[in-house]
Amino acid sequence: MSDSLANLYQQVILDHARQRIGYGQLDHADAERFERNPTCGDEVMVRLALEQGTDRIASLAWQGAGCSISTASASVLAQLAEGLTLTELQSKIDAFRAMLRERGDVEPDEDVLGDAVAFQGVSKYVMRVKCAMLPWVAAEACRGSLT
């Protein structure tokens, strides 16, 4: 059992779930999006602020209640997003989604995804893929509203 569990709950994930990078409000947000997983009722609000006059992300913040996977995923996302252009953000979202859909068949690129590669193990748990995607789906919608 320990194998399968450790594969899903990588230490990075457990840590992020506790640290919650980017948890909170923003003084000013250029976009915000609320997402909900109807199966479990988990919710996340993602807010995004750009560096003035650019399409570069100044800060991504989130609030909500969810499982350790969705929480850690939001934390990782907030960490990763800062300083990216919206286009760069989208390519990371695409890479993250591709990794989760692959069921672990392709080795994810740590240069692109950073801590988010820890979620590779989630791809084997169909019911949890949605957990991991939840904040990223919200961020993708934020980007969509800005472009």
């Binding site: 059992m1 320990s2 194998d3 399968s4 569990l5 899903l8 709950y9 457990l14 779930a17 506790r18 199966t39 479990c40 009722g41 988990d42 209640a65 969810g66 499982c67 350790s68 996977i69 929480t71 748990y125 019911m127 949890r128 957990c131």
Partner: protein
Amino acid sequence: MSATIVDVSQPITDHEVNAIRRDFPALLESVNGEPLAYLDSAATAQRPHAVLDAERHFLEHHNAAVHRGAHTLAGLATEAYEDARSTVAAFVGAGPDEVVWTANATDALNLVAYGFANASHGRGGAAARRFALAPGDEIVVTEAEHHANLVPWQELAAVTGATLRFIPVNDSGVYSVGDAAAVLSSRTRIVALAHVSNVTGFVAPVAEIVALAHARGALVVLDACQSAPHRALDLPGLGVDFAAFSGHKMLGPTGIGVLYGRAELLDALPPFRTGGSMISTVTMTDADYLPAPQRFEAGTPPVSQAIALAEAVRYLQRIGLDRIERREELLAERMLVGLAGIPGIRTIGPGLGVPRAGLVSFDVDGVHGHDVGQYLDARGIAVRVGHHCAQPLHRRLGLISSTRASAYMYTTTDEVDRLLGSAHEVRRYFGAA
């Protein structure tokens, strides 16, 4: 099951459970390298060989459409199908004409609600007028209902103008006869309640509520999903007017549910689904309906499922419903005592010493339900996490979700102990303790 049954008032013994388990192939599965501990029988039960074999035997030898054919197979199929009805009816103390096959318990409850709605829209002739609702009428449910026994009544209220009221629960998720009496009035037309809560395991004071309801001229609809599989039921004795339960929670198949209705009411209630096999005469403009139960069984019914469900009932009867109930009481107590003793774990529902069904729901402080469930699953323990289709109850208890462990006749003491052992560790794992 090869165990010899000794005393029908005694719980099934650990030894007998071991014999029973050999009848259930799915209990032999391994999950994540651990032997499966299936503690999710309140969601759906596993099926014994006898039930699987009965359905297959029918399909290999007697399969045919029922009620419509004159050929030999059709006759055999019809006989087996109607015998199944008699068996299931007798199981709950009812006559065969008081039992309607439905798709599941949800469908059975919708059948009743739509019967009232159709009567309110003028369908069903004079006999159906007693079911017509109008503004001023009240439908009463409890705050602890499964969505299946709540949303259909919301819809009925919405289309008829009736008001939906509810019996509130206390901080443990339970209510008293007094709480019910405070809500029922002469405006009450329907009282819908669960016999046993699928979240708290609370056993409702059905007979008392029936007395209150009938004194006010209201009809009582019982959601017997969590009682029919686990305790001896005498629905006419309880006095309820309608009751619903599902095959898949009582060792039988999915795709079949049961509606019980007092004969006099069933014959007056307007039909729900319409189509073949429920009519006597059809012209291009009009149709006459058959009496109950046929009038509620439009189209080809779940034939092989009815036959399998009857076999499930016989299996339950061989074990003995009282003995099953006793056994599950012991397991529930063990779970309750064990879980309540773990720091950071809060159990939901009646406390020790109060009758409850063989299930316990609990909240783990600081750990999300899905993480609890996943952690247990990695140890081979299958429990249910979420709102268990009872969002209003969870909201009332200040929770979004909970973890539920539910036992059946085949659950071992060891499985309960594995649950307790893992529950001890879960908060530490997720850094909540």
